[in-house]
């Protein structure tokens, strides 16, 4: 719970390459994420070459800060909702594993998929789903506000408030 609550989206990084050993741990965390029907459709491209990363960043309007590396999550073939859920599960594992290693990260959904594919020499049919920037945080943002549980959780039927949640923040 500590990692879940303390993790932040980092958009400001200090200089410093991430150790390959740490990135491998992070990618292993992604490998162990749930996968619908255990299909495991995802593959990952770890980008750390500065010239390639620079182009990925140029073609990703949502990519902020000078992160020294990024992971591109993608899958082959027509993407269905389960593939996208798998990518979400894997991404959360990546974000939490990175946080636990003192590495900042940010999920990036705004990117030009065709350009990313071309830059990374991805084969036909392979589609990038999500980018995650990785680097050592320069600034840790303050916690964002979250809706109280009492506003988003019901019990037994929609709209039925759960009294145990009242007053919890």
């Amino acid at each position: 719970m500590e990692a879940i609550k303390a993790r932040r989206s980092i958009r400001s990084f200090r200089a410093g390459e991430i150790r390959d050993e740490d990135v491998i741990k992070i990618l292993d965390a992604a490998r162990w994420a749930p996968s619908g029907g255990n299909r495991q459709p995802l593959s990952y491209i770890y980008v750390k070459d500065p010239q390639t990363l620079r182009m990925v960043k140029n073609c990703s309007p949502g990519f902020y800060g000078d992160a020294p590396s990024a992971i591109v999550i993608g899958a082959q073939g027509k993407l269905g909702p389960i593939d996208l859920l798998d990518a979400g599960f894997a991404a959360q594992n990546i974000l939490l594993a990175a946080h636990s290693l003192g590495i900042g990260s940010c999920a990036i959904a705004s990117f030009n998929g065709d350009a990313i594919k071309k830059i990374l020499n991805a084969p036909d049919g392979w589609e990038p789903i999500l980018l995650i920037s990785l680097g050592y945080p320069d600034r840790i943002p303050k916690p964002p506000s979250r809706k109280p549980l009492s506003e988003t959780v019901f019990i037994n039927s929609y709209g039925n408030r759960w009294d145990k949640l009242e007053g919890l923040q």
């Binding site: 010239q51 140029n58 073609c59 990703s60 309007p61 705004s110 030009n112 071309k118 830059i119």
Partner: protein, 100 residues
């Protein structure tokens, strides 16, 4: 210094193009306006980078934009933006050190 300026100019131009592409599917003028900014930046190139290593590339880009004074529908514009983007990626790849 000049090389760094040139690389930064290339990056800013490409990012501007990607902003235009990001809004291409929307019912607004955002995409057109980013293309206008892109074109204005491109026109600045000979003034700020006289001896640009990529001078010939920028000249080709200006030529493509000149040929497109009249903007057609959204789909045509999108196709054109993708073509320009491919030119950028090809140009970037040409500048990479050759693998042995």
């Amino acid at each position: 210094m000049t090389e760094e300026l040139e690389e930064r100019f290339f990056d800013i131009l490409l990012r501007t193009l990607n902003y235009a592409i990001e809004f291409a599917g929307e019912r607004s003028y955002a995409s057109l306006r980013f293309m206008d900014l892109f074109s204005s930046l491109l026109d600045l190139q000979p003034m700020i980078l006289r001896e640009a290593r990529r001078g010939e590339f920028y000249e080709r880009l200006r030529g493509r934009l000149r040929d497109r004074q009249v903007m057609e529908g959204r789909e045509e514009r999108s196709k054109f933006q993708r073509e320009i983007l491919e030119m950028f990626i090809d140009e970037w790849r040409r500048g990479l050190p050759q693998k042995p």
